[in-house]
């Protein structure tokens, strides 16, 4: 049990994380020598809540802001505005030692295991590092814990003495997971954490993550582009497009009654081969480039590529509205499109 449990507000005992209107803009030069500064709208007003012990999935195209959202939650990307309420406390403005204290409850496993590890330090030392930094346990307890963590992620004890380049990609990602587990966090962000792993190890790691979740009541933010994995692994799923959540719902809702045209495009790309997929691809798979995230125009972000766009979409940004208590969609045409989609499905 974590000390944070007691800090949780009694009004929402269930929500470990509550993100409110999160904005992350990166400066991107000036428009001409005297012009105003341009900004990459990496995350542009994102709100969601994650219940303790559940998995919140984020899917979306490359550059849609999934990682930046997660990094901002972990306070590893600069927050332009918005709130990040973790265990009842807004951590968006924390600094110094309260921030360091908070960090051990929030861990991340990155997409690229190679750049996430220090090439000159032995594997065991890297797993031990958070324990040393946070002063957890005695020296021999830490060694013991390192061995246990290695075993938990399926590596032999000798692995502790090797350097990162002596491991294969999959083995390196296991090291990263062991390191993230070391300080016994409450929330782990898995940023494409299984995407670079081969399917056999991916299955082992997903099974492992589920077991750890059951045993320790861990909460996950799970970023992935693999809808097959997301559908089975996540309880709640948000679909991001150019810095915005365009659709969000329980995994059951989102994949049985998807509403947003972009969600349909993702589904068309992921559907199993066969005539159904061919038809879906033809109708829904978007082509071409996603537009630039630098100073996006008003209106729906998806308008340039949306097969269902109407005039209104160019002028007015659709808000993320509930179409039922566990399902939100940001599309002006959500209600009339729902019917077309139902026809296609049947």
């Amino acid at each position: 049990m974590s000390v944070l449990d007691t800090a949780a507000s009694p009004a929402a005992p269930d929500h470990l994380l509550d993100v409110n209107d999160l904005v992350v803009h990166f400066p991107a030069g000036r428009q001409g020598p005297f012009g105003k500064t341009s900004f990459v709208h990496a995350v542009d007003g994102v709100s969601f809540r994650v219940r303790r012990g559940t998995t919140f999935g984020i899917v979306g195209e490359s550059g849609s802001g999934k990682s930046t959202t997660a990094l901002a939650v972990l306070r590893l990307a600069p927050i332009t505005s918005g709130q990040v309420v973790f265990a009842g406390r807004d951590i968006a403005d924390l600094s110094g030692s309260p921030l360091r204290e908070m960090r051990k409850h929030l861990q991340i496993v990155f997409q690229d295991p190679f750049s996430a590890l220090n090439p000159r330090r032995r594997a065991g030392d890297q797993i031990r590092e958070p324990l040393d930094l946070l002063g957890i346990g005695s020296g021999s307890e830490r060694d013991d814990r390192v061995r246990k963590l290695l075993a938990e992620v399926g590596l032999p004890p000798q692995a502790a003495d090797l350097f990162p380049h002596q491991f294969s990609g999959g083995q390196r990602q296991r090291l990263c997971i062991a390191r993230a587990l070391a300080p016994e966090p409450d929330l782990i962000v898995c940023d494409e954490a299984v995407s670079a792993l081969d399917v056999a190890i991916q299955a082992q790691i997903l099974n492992l993550l589920k077991r750890l979740q059951r045993e320790r009541r861990l909460t996950y933010m799970f970023i992935s582009h693999d809808l097959g994995v997301v559908q089975q692994f996540c309880d709640e799923v948000a679909v991001m497009y150019l810095g915005k959540i365009v659709e969000q719902g329980s995994a059951a809702k989102l994949f049985t009654a998807p509403c947003h045209p972009y969600t349909w495009s993702l589904i068309a790309a992921a559907a199993p081969p066969g005539p159904v997929r061919d038809a879906l691809k033809q109708r829904h798979l978007v082509k071409g480039d996603p537009p630039s995230p630098v100073d996006p125009p008003p209106g729906c972000r998806f308008v340039q590529r949306c097969p269902a766009a109407v005039d209104r979409c160019r002028q007015q940004l659709p808000s993320l509205d509930a179409i039922d208590p566990s399902h939100y969609v940001a599309c002006h045409r959500a209600s009339d499109l729902a019917e077309t989609f139902i026809q296609i499905r049947s």
Binding site: S67, V199, I201, G228, Q231, A251
Partner: protein, 330 residues
């Protein structure tokens, strides 16, 4: 004539004690012009090392101990370092698994693509820049005109991988070795990149050696599939045969551990995925017997008392190395 012919390739690594340990054992396969051959297997099975051996870019301590690699009849192992350099990028090029290690952090992506174009096609100045932008568009980089001036660290992981693909395409190679080219990409782009590879093949007649761990994902794309386990080819054949009627327990395991996306159906409560227990034996821990023995649910006495069976034909264009499958012989 086949484009690439690999004949009994053996690659070893010199370990800390100075002993040679096997990395790739007796690997033979060929790739015809314009064909796609997939090399499939788990992490650590030697897929990348096979690719690097073909490119003659093996890391220090790794040596090709025997075998032949013929590209259009030319024995690559007899070429000088200089001859190999002029071949790379033009006759054969490679998309690396870890894009950050292959991109130079100090140059813009445009400069790096232009460099390849200058070297292989004599394109310079604005022509090279135009072509670099066109290539970035081909690989679906948003705002290509601006991103051509970006440094690698300013791009997301997915975009970096696409820059790598653009660079590999720049020299119009006859053989494109793609080491896990889409692992870091999202599904929409993954579908587009696979279409792109197919298009490139149509246009230039280039052959593709596609390296992946996801057997299901390449089934449609590949003409032939080789399944590698612990440095040994344990099953090979025509793509449809391998996917529809896999014979080796390892190949079956690979097909069973993938969570498949199901349309219009609520997900079932979590049931652990079918996993292949254990892991690939590390280098130096691979005996003479079946390398899959320790993880195999079908292992029997015969597997323990005999060495790894030969890769035996079991039908037209289908071969397997397993004692429990028809045809297992030494």
């Amino acid at each position: 004539m086949t484009l690439l012919e690999v004949d009994s390739l053996n690659v070893s690594m010199r370990n800390a004690e100075g002993h040679l340990v096997s990395v790739i054992e007796n690997l033979s396969f060929s790739v015809a012009h314009g064909q796609t051959t997939a090399l499939v297997g788990e992490s650590g099975c030697g897929k990348s090392m096979t690719a690097l051996a073909l490119m003659r870019l093996l890391p220090e301590d790794f040596v090709i101990t025997s075998g032949r690699i013929l590209l259009e009849g030319r024995d690559l192992l007899s070429l000088s370092a200089k001859e190999m350099r002029s071949l790379r990028g033009r006759a054969m090029s490679m998309i690396f698994q870890e894009p950050m290690t292959a991109l130079n952090p100090l140059f813009t992506v445009g400069d790096q693509i232009a460099e390849v174009l200058r070297w292989h096609q004599g394109l310079g100045g604005s022509a090279a820049r135009e072509r670099a932008i066109a290539l970035l568009r081909v690989v679906q980089i948003p705002a290509a005109e601006q991103r051509v001036d970006a440094y690698p660290h300013q791009l997301s992981g997915g975009m970096r991988q696409r820059v790598m693909i653009a660079m590999a395409l720049a020299g119009r190679p006859k053989l494109l070795i793609a080491d896990e080219p889409t692992t870091a990409l999202d599904v929409t782009v993954q579908a587009q990149i696979f279409d792109l590879l197919a298009e490139l093949q149509q246009e230039t007649g280039a052959a593709v050696l596609l390296i992946t761990h996801d057997l299901g994902a390449v089934a449609e794309l590949a003409d032939e599939i080789l399944v590698l386990y612990a440095g040994r080819c344990i099953e090979a054949g025509v793509s449809a045969d391998i996917v529809e009627a896999p014979r080796h327990p390892y190949t079956r395991g690979l097909l069973n551990c993938v969570p498949h996306f199901t349309l219009g159906r609520a997900p079932k409560p979590w049931v652990d995925l079918g996993e292949i227990p254990g892991m690939v034996p590390p280098l130096g821990a691979r005996g003479a017997d079946c390398a899959f023995l320790a993880r195999c649910a079908l292992a029997a006495d015969i597997c323990r008392s005999r060495p790894q069976p030969a890769l035996d034909p079991i039908g037209p264009g289908h071969a397997v190395s397993c004692w429990r499958e028809a045809g297992g012989t030494t």
